[in-house]
């Protein structure tokens, strides 16, 4: 019994950190904006880590999943605005649609890309966000390059008061829930056959294959899981917080860069890493934008190169090494 429960100890610091973040946000005036940004980075990092961290593959087109998730929510809100009495149900449908669309896109990309190894995989993904953006703009899907604005529909569905609360508060809570859920799923994967298979393939894909591990299957599982979380993050943090969507914004490679920074900074493949990375990145970006505006990405690009060359295991990875013979060990994963 005890040993079974012990497997879930590493979740404790994660949950405590999110609780503290929430309480600080609620009780310190004027800080909710920052907390909301941090929650977005946490969720983005946790979702991205499920794929990059566990498989060692880089998806340079990751933001596309957030983008289609945003479109999923936008489609539900605009399409169902005319139906009376659905209320919050529309949001639920929106999330379902976001997940379905992100899953479909990840299956389509994964079907091509995940049969390929390392470098070729990265090449296949590098154009996914641009490709999808230009498909929407070029073929005039979802209003093409004019985008969709659905504040009025959201007001109509939820009523003006609730819609306002959703945009300023509940959307952030949903992002928090998504981040926690992604962390829980990460731990569940780590403790299961999936995690062992992914670790084996990350270390040596050929050896894993020879040992009889169906590597493509496990890569696809990680890819789809990661993508559907990204779709939900897009639906909550973009579609619900700011009820409009423009193709150049939601397929902006900038967010993929941020996801990479967060995961590598914190420690790829660790449970706590994305959270730590998101907090460090979010807070320092906030202060850099005040004291050294315009320099944020310049500095972080340098930081990432230094991390890759000198500490590829990231902050949590280094810390994990330090507490190896310590009682803290069972809480850090």
């Amino acid at each position: 019994m005890n040993s079974k429960l012990k497997k879930y100890y590493p979740l404790l610091p994660v949950l405590v950190a999110y609780l503290i973040l929430f309480l600080v946000g609620r009780n310190v005036t004027g800080i909710w904006q920052l907390v909301s940004t941090l929650l977005f980075y946490c969720a983005l990092g946790q979702a991205f880590n499920i794929f990059l961290g566990m498989t060692g593959y880089v998806d340079f087109g990751y933001v596309a999943f957030l983008g289609v998730g945003t479109y999923g929510m936008a489609t539900a809100v605009t399409g169902l605005a005319g139906y009376e009495g659905l209320g919050v149900g529309v949001i639920v449908i929106g999330f379902a649609l976001a997940v379905i669309m992100a899953t479909l896109l990840s299956m389509a990309v994964g079907a091509v890309a995940l049969r390929l190894r390392g470098a070729y995989f990265a090449i296949a993904t590098i154009g996914v966000n641009e490709g999808f953006r230009y498909l929407i703009e070029g073929a005039n899907l979802w209003n093409g390059s004019s985008g969709m604005i659905f504040t009025a529909e959201l007001n109509q569905i939820l009523g003006r008061d609730l819609a306002g609360r959703v945009m300023t508060f509940w959307a952030d809570i949903l992002v928090l829930i998504i981040a926690v859920a992604a962390a829980v799923v990460t731990l569940l994967y780590m403790n299961s056959k999936i995690g062992y298979a992914l670790t084996a393939l990350r270390e040596d894909e050929d050896a894993a294959k020879v040992m009889g591990i169906h590597v493509t299957k496990f890569k696809i599982i990680a890819f789809i899981t990661s993508a559907s979380f990204a779709g939900m993050v897009g639906a909550a943090s973009w579609a619900l917080k700011t009820p409009y969507v423009f193709p150049p914004e939601v397929f902006e490679i900038h967010y993929t860069i941020e996801a990479i920074i967060i995961v590598m900074l914190g420690g790829a493949g660790t449970l706590l890493g994305p959270l730590v990375g998101a907090l460090i990145y979010g807070v320092s970006k906030y202060y850099l934008s005040i004291f050294l505006p315009g320099f944020q990405l310049f500095i972080f690009a340098l930081v990432i190169i230094v991390i890759i060359v000198l500490f590829p295991e990231g902050v949590v990875g280094v810390f994990k090494g330090k507490v190896r013979n310590n009682r803290l060990k069972q809480f850090i994963l």
Binding site: G118, A119, G127, E130, G131, A139, A301, V309
Partner: protein, 295 residues
């Protein structure tokens, strides 16, 4: 009418394609020798474009003079980046070099943004047109095409006729064997990486002849994608394959733009870019080792 337009497309496409091909040779060279994918490719192209701006707008010189300067800058950046980062990552998981080259691209973009700002710039180098009857060719584009072919030829000669070039090829064939024969393998790696980056930056100069007003720190993303389509067309590891891939791609891009323009209710420019992404996926699906076979 249609025939003339098609002829125009073929000629314009091949001219652009030669430059695209040259712009991809650096990417293929680096992958061919070091098995490193330069994900920040487009950012290095962008640096070349800014060097052209500096030559033309600030110094008032012919943009063609910017080619050797851009190559030299590229060599320097390449050597610096190789010795500070890439060298240490060659035995690390592939993730490391992918993220390092990606971050180097971001670093270059941000540096240029901090120096020059992020607005779109351009220059106007009008030296007349050649009228072919069915289409008018700007002379500047013709120079860009000739420059690309010349650079490709020089690279070929360098690889096949010089000691350093043959040493580099021996490293590709069998790095252990090359080491035994007294080839400085580390040196060959550094040299290939630097030349690859040099070629890429120099290609930025040639590409500006086609987009005189579209120069900005973040212009590289599209070129990264195009370069990958072209490189994969030519087999990813072969610079000459890349050159022919460029010719094919230039033709496809130019023709598809004209054809999409006939469709009602679509934006041909955006669809052309979507098409290049689809071509990439299709090649990777059916033949990741490349469609065009060149040694």
């Amino acid at each position: 009418m249609i025939f003339e337009q098609l002829m125009g497309n073929i000629v314009q496409g091949l001219i652009l394609g030669a430059v695209y091909g040259m712009a991809t040779m650096g990417l293929s060279l680096i992958f061919g020798v070091l098995k490193v994918v330069n994900v920040g490719h487009g950012a290095f192209v962008m640096v070349g474009a800014f060097i052209t701006l500096f030559f033309f707008n600030t110094l008032g010189l012919n943009p063609l003079f910017a080619i050797p300067a851009a190559f030299a800058v590229g060599l320097a950046i390449g050597l610096l980046f190789y010795h500070t980062a890439i060298k240490r990552l060659l035995n690390a998981p592939e993730l490391a070099t992918l993220l390092a080259t990606f971050s180097a691209g971001v670093l270059l973009e941000e540096s240029i943004k901090l120096i020059f700002g992020s607005e779109f710039r351009g220059y106007n180098w009008d030296i007349g047109n050649i009228d072919l009857g069915f289409t008018a060719l700007p002379v500047s584009k013709l120079y860009a095409c000739l420059g690309s072919v010349l650079i490709a030829l020089l690279l070929y000669i360098w690889f096949n006729r010089t000691r350093a070039g043959t040493a580099m090829r021996s490293v590709v064939e069998d790095s252990e064997g090359a080491r035994v024969c007294g080839v400085n393998v580390q040196g060959a790696y550094a040299m290939s990486f630097a030349i690859g980056i040099g070629l890429t930056v120099a290609s930025g100069v040639l590409l500006t002849m086609f987009i005189p007003v579209g120069i900005n720190p973040y212009m590289g993303g599209g070129y990264t994608l195009k370069a990958f389509v072209i490189a994969v067309l030519g087999g990813l590891a072969s610079p000459y394959g890349a050159f022919f891939g460029g010719l094919v791609f230039g033709f496809i891009e130019n023709t598809s733009y004209t054809l999409f323009a006939f469709l009602p209710g679509v934006e041909p420019f955006a669809l052309t870019r979507f098409l290049s992404f689809m071509i990439l996926l299709i090649i990777l699906l059916i033949r990741p080792t490349g469609i065009i076979k060149a040694k």
